[in-house]
């Protein structure tokens, strides 16, 4: 498990290095994800080995957002007098984005299926 974690950290490190040196908008860990995917495709054995650790970490992905979540509680007053409209705008916009995204996905995949 420690070896697998080392693989993840080294990919993140390489991603961070690329992101910083090339001034990318994409953050280091996302670049690291692409690097690891590339490694998996080159070395299927590595994928077999790292897969359980990676999936184990992801099954508790929610936990990792808790510290940042606690941090925002003290800043909720920053919404100020605009608090209610902002919360409404966030909720409505999130619902719209999920709806539009999912409907377009389904619609487009039907179009693709039909053309085959």
């Amino acid at each position: 498990m420690i070896y697998h974690l080392t693989v993840l950290l080294l990919c993140q490190l390489a991603g961070e290095f690329l992101s910083q040196s090339l001034n990318l908008v994409v953050p280091g860990p996302v670049v690291g994800m692409v690097i690891l995917l590339g490694l998996f495709m080159l070395l299927p054995k590595l994928a077999m080995a790292v897969q359980p650790t990676a999936l184990g970490l992801l099954s508790h992905l929610s936990l990792l957002f808790v510290p940042a979540g606690v941090g925002i509680v003290g800043h909720l007053d920053k919404l100020g007098s605009d608090g209610v409209p902002i919360l409404f705008a966030l909720a409505a916009s999130t619902a719209l984005a999920i709806t539009v995204g999912a409907l377009v996905f389904v619609g487009m995949s039907r179009l693709v299926e039909r053309r085959k």
């Binding site: 991603g15 995917l37 990676a54 992801l58 808790v66 510290p67 003290g74 902002i86 999130t94």
Partner: protein, 238 residues
């Protein structure tokens, strides 16, 4: 032997206590979530954050002191993002086959997220720095903060808005998508990842591994697209 108040004074400054408290609060949240039959509004993040915020308030401990312990958990966000390669690899055939639907849903979902939040807030009279801080709210935090800063928003406020958006998406996704009658796990996960970044992705993984994989891709791609189009879209509202 030290008196209890002295031991407490010592422990409340120690990372160990706050790291333990973070894991324990999450365990409580996760248990409540599982016992509820995975009800989306019993969100483990929401429960854990509420418990910890209450605990810090009662014990009068500052956030920086808390974070000295919690930072070890926070740090794992980086490796966990890298770990998204695993479900992506496991679902590679499905991902390849869905390239076109993903591309279309990415553009539609991303533009909808940005334009609708700006339009609704603008209609309510929100202007200036606060309005600009809203624009990147659907994107994973490190990218959102960068975008916010570059367009003249407040990164601190954006951090708050990003987390709120994530929790809202995680809570509403299942009932909303059921209502729409969408059964395709790829579509459900992808739309949630685009709209609600990592917290939405975490929710998707709780439900279905394919949904989680597609949510992770949606999150990653939307970080790139939003960074490119937000500077153009805000000009409409300037």
């Amino acid at each position: 032997m030290n008196a209890l108040p002295e031991i407490w004074t010592y422990l409340r400054q120690e990372p160990l206590l706050w790291l333990s408290a973070t894991l324990l609060a999450y365990a409580v949240g996760d248990t409540v979530f599982l016992k509820s039959g995975k009800r989306p509004y019993m969100n483990p993040v929401l429960i854990a954050v509420s418990l910890l915020a209450l605990l810090l308030w009662v014990t009068d401990v500052s956030y920086p002191t808390y974070f000295e312990g919690a930072k070890f958990v926070h740090f794992m966000l980086g490796p966990a993002t890298v770990a998204l390669a695993a479900p992506l690899y496991a679902n590679l055939d499905k991902v390849r086959a869905a390239a076109l639907p993903m591309f279309a849903a990415l553009i539609a979902g991303s533009v909808t997220a940005i334009v609708s939040v700006l339009a609704i807030a603008y209609a309510f009279g929100v202007r200036g720095e606060i309005l600009l801080s809203l624009a990147p709210k659907s994107v994973t935090a490190p990218v959102a903060l960068g975008i916010s800063e570059s367009i003249g928003g407040s990164p601190t406020l954006t951090a708050v808005l990003v987390i709120l958006t994530g929790v809202m998406g995680a809570v509403m996704a299942t009932p909303l998508l059921n209502l729409l009658g969408i059964k395709d796990w790829r579509a459900r996960g992808f739309a949630l990842g685009v709209a609600s970044h990592g917290i939405g992705t975490a929710r998707a993984f709780q439900v279905n591994e394919t949904a989680g994989a597609f949510a992770g891709i949606g999150m990653g791609l939307n970080a790139i697209l939003t960074a490119l189009i937000v500077p153009l879209i805000i000009q409409i509202f300037a």
